[in-house]
């Protein structure tokens, strides 16, 4: 099932399907390792609709909800 990354609950692993948004946004996310086909794990989320923390290939980064909503992912089991 395809959902947006901001809807993924902490602990879940997901596979990136595609990244929406402009070139800049795609590039910045690419720099963090978000590419179609990569696996992401949501580690935790901040309260008050704050950012989420994601791990991929051994590195961790945080991203705001707005940006997370641009990443379409598929849940893995």
């Amino acid at each position: 099932m395809r959902i947006r990354l901001d809807a993924v609950s902490p602990g879940k692993k997901v596979k990136v399907i595609m990244v929406e948004g402009g070139v800049r946004c795609r590039q910045c996310l690419g720099e963090m390792g978000v590419y179609p086909g990569e696996t992401l794990q949501v580690i935790r989320s901040a309260p008050f609709a704050g950012p989420i923390m994601v791990e991929t290939n051994g590195s961790r980064f945080m991203l705001g909800r707005g940006m997370a909503a641009k990443i379409i992912v598929e849940e893995m089991d």
Binding site: A46, P51, M53, G58
Partner: protein, 639 residues
């Protein structure tokens, strides 16, 4: 010979640079520390070398201002050797930048730093294999112990001597065909721009805005051709051309990673991974945050006041003694008194607070805690139209406004940079901390000092809200790497504090002493009265003694001057005898917010331009005046 260090943020570049140059740059454990490049000269085997530390960058596509700096440098400056520093524990991702750098066709050397971290994770890297694939030498280092760095320098000499430029990596066949076509098309332009043709072609397919604009201005028809190639790639792969190229590079990097890395064991359990369960927890995270900052400021205050009191008493005695030797009403006495007061202001008031403050700040920066603060406070920053990354310039602002204004370069949008820079100048820097502690805390009690800080934060929120309403635009949102915690080495903490302290000692302190003497002379000839009456439109509505006018003018030079000068202008150390508690509070509030100091104005000028700097000056002055005016009339309720 010119050697440049290039690497992704937090790969340990500054640490390497510091090691080489004898600790002159500032290393930190958060992305984007080196926001401007630092240069240093050193001798390798008797050759004079210029070594340049460029801002950390994830890729050579320009996204934020700090990254653009690196790219611009690499594309326009003559460089003899590129030393590409990689975080060995994040090899896969780091290789993406390496692949881009290879495209520049310059002599290059790969440095696998943080080998200790990689080993902790159970990763073994076959360097020979990596060197063979990339065609450039690879050296392993541990920057903070200096291990491998001599090797690195020798290898750099060799790379330069033999002009080892490595081999560019080929993408998959159908993409490569498009790349080759575009490379041919841009051949002529690339010679004009002095950028390798293939590199230019790849960047254009990646829709690099800066290069597209350049092409448009020199060869508009070429741009149409490039746009066609972009569309062609998109139709072939069902994805935008920039994604096609960057995904290919990503896949290449991952393949190389697979080839050269051997996982020898599962990673050692590390308590550092557990720390975040508390430090970034939705409730405990904020408790920790409050405790950290409460602890920080109490420590600074305790240490500071412990030293200040006896020191000031000592200087008072010196001044009393002086009267035996020089007639108190002579010009000579005034000059000597001014000098002593300037020296005393430095030793007695500024240093006791500045040293623990700077060391504490360095500790916070190097531990890697700051990005966690950005995570916790991001939602609140959104309320004022910014996002979590702005918190880093803000926190630096408590140290000094100049690096804070410069650190706004880590922000992506120009509007965010401007708002953050203006707000950062409103934050009490260490000089203003000295005023708050030395005046409010000392005479009114620590609780009032804390209140000043808290109200400063509230005002910051309101000012932020006003600015983001004036400049409406959606902030791009937070995206920030979370670095691993590191135990800061005493050496870096010490050198970093020393680096910042030196700035006070060699620049501010002499100004303080000279300013103090000048004020003495002005008073002697009663010139200060003229300045004071000129400042009357400010001091009178705020209900402040006329004599503080001069100190406000001096305060624009250096904020510390306000306090020391105040004591001198009033002619006593016991301020309470000449000013009421309400006046002390009003004065402090005004000084905290009004006009940034000269150095900050210069930094603002450079970062946001003249017009916005003038705006910032008026904006801060208006805030200061309104708040101080309110304080004047509300303070009788407090005391």
């Amino acid at each position: 010979m010119k050697v440049v260090l290039v690497g992704q943020p937090n790969c340990g570049k500054s640490t390497i640079f510091n090691y080489l140059s004898g600790y002159k740059a500032v290393a930190s454990n958060f992305p984007g520390t080196t926001v401007k490049y630092t240069k240093s000269q050193l001798y390798i085997n008797g050759y004079l070398c210029e070594c340049v530390d460029l801002p950390g960058t994830y890729s050579l596509i320009s996204s934020d201002a700090a990254e653009q700096e690196t790219r611009k440098y690499l594309l326009t400056q003559p460089v003899d050797v590129i030393i590409n520093v990689l975080d060995a524990s994040l090899l896969g991702r780091s290789l993406e930048l390496t692949l881009e750098l290879l495209g520049l066709k310059k002599p290059m050397l790969i440095v696998l730093n943080m080998i200790d971290e990689a080993e902790r994770k159970g990763i073994h890297i076959h360097t020979e294999k990596l060197a063979e694939i990339l065609g450039v030498p690879v050296v392993k280092t541990i920057a903070y112990t200096g291990q491998g760095l001599t090797d690195m320098l020798h290898m750099a000499m060799k790379v330069k001597g033999e002009k080892i430029i490595g081999q560019p990596m080929l993408l998959s066949k159908d993409v490569e065909e498009v790349v080759t076509t575009v490379t041919k098309a841009v051949q002529d332009v690339s010679e004009v721009l002095k950028i390798p043709a293939r590199f230019l072609a790849l960047k254009l397919l990646e829709k690099d805005p800066a290069l597209e604009a350049q092409i448009e201005s020199i060869a508009p028809s070429l741009l149409t051709q490039i746009k066609e190639a972009q569309t062609h790639l998109k139709e072939m792969h069902g994805r935008p051309s920039d994604v096609v190229v960057s995904s290919e590079r990503h896949a290449l990097a991952m393949n190389i990673y697979e080839e050269v890395v051997e996982i020898i064991r599962s990673p050692k359990q590390d308590i550092r991974d557990k720390i975040d369960d508390i430090a970034m927890h939705r409730i405990w995270g904020y408790v920790v945050l409050a405790l950290v900052f409460y602890g920080f400021f109490t420590l600074v205050f305790k240490v500071g006041s412990y030293i200040e009191t006896p020191l000031m008493a000592l200087f008072d005695q010196v001044l009393l003694k002086l009267q035996y030797y020089l007639p108190p009403q002579s010009l000579k006495y005034i000059v000597v008194e001014g000098a002593i007061q300037g020296i005393a202001g430095g030793i007695g008031i500024v240093l006791p607070y500045l040293i623990p403050f700077l060391m504490g700040l360095a500790l916070l920066e190097d531990s890697g805690y700051l990005p966690r603060v950005a995570f916790l406070l991001d939602p609140f920053m959104h309320r004022i139209g910014l996002h979590g990354k702005s918190i880093i310039p803000f926190l630096l602002g408590y140290g000094c406004s100049v690096p804070a204004v410069m650190a706004t370069r880590i922000l992506e949008s120009e509007r965010d940079r401007f708002i953050t820079a203006v707000l950062a100048t409103l934050i009490p820097c260490s000089a203003r901390t000295v005023i708050i502690l030395g005046l409010v805390s000392y005479f009114l009690g620590p609780k009032y000092a804390l209140a000043v800080y808290i109200s400063n934060i509230i005002i910051l929120g309101v000012a932020g809200k006003i600015l983001s309403t004036l400049f409406p635009e959606v902030t791009p949102g937070l995206l920030l790497e979370v670095p691993t915690y590191r135990i800061p080495s005493f050496k870096t903490i010490w050198f970093k504090s020393w680096y910042r302290l030196k700035e006070f000692i060699v620049i501010a302190w002499p100004i303080l002493i000279i300013g103090s003497i000048i004020l003495g002379i002005l008073q002697f000839f009663h010139v200060d009265n003229i300045i004071n009456s000129l400042c009357r439109p400010i001091t009178a509505p705020l209900g402040l003694p006329l004599a503080v006018g001069t100190t406000l003018i001096f305060g624009i030079l250096r904020k510390e001057l306000s306090l020391v000068m105040l004591l001198q202008a009033l002619g006593t150390k016991d301020v309470l005898t000449v000013m009421t508690k309400g006046q002390i509070l009003t004065f402090t509030i005004f000084v905290v917010f009004y006009i940034p100091c000269m150095a900050t104005i210069a930094a603002l000028w450079e970062e946001v331009g003249a017009r916005k700097t003038v705006f910032a000056i008026f904006f801060s002055f208006a805030i200061a005046f309104i708040l101080a005016f309110l304080t004047r009339f509300l303070s009788p309720l407090l005391f």
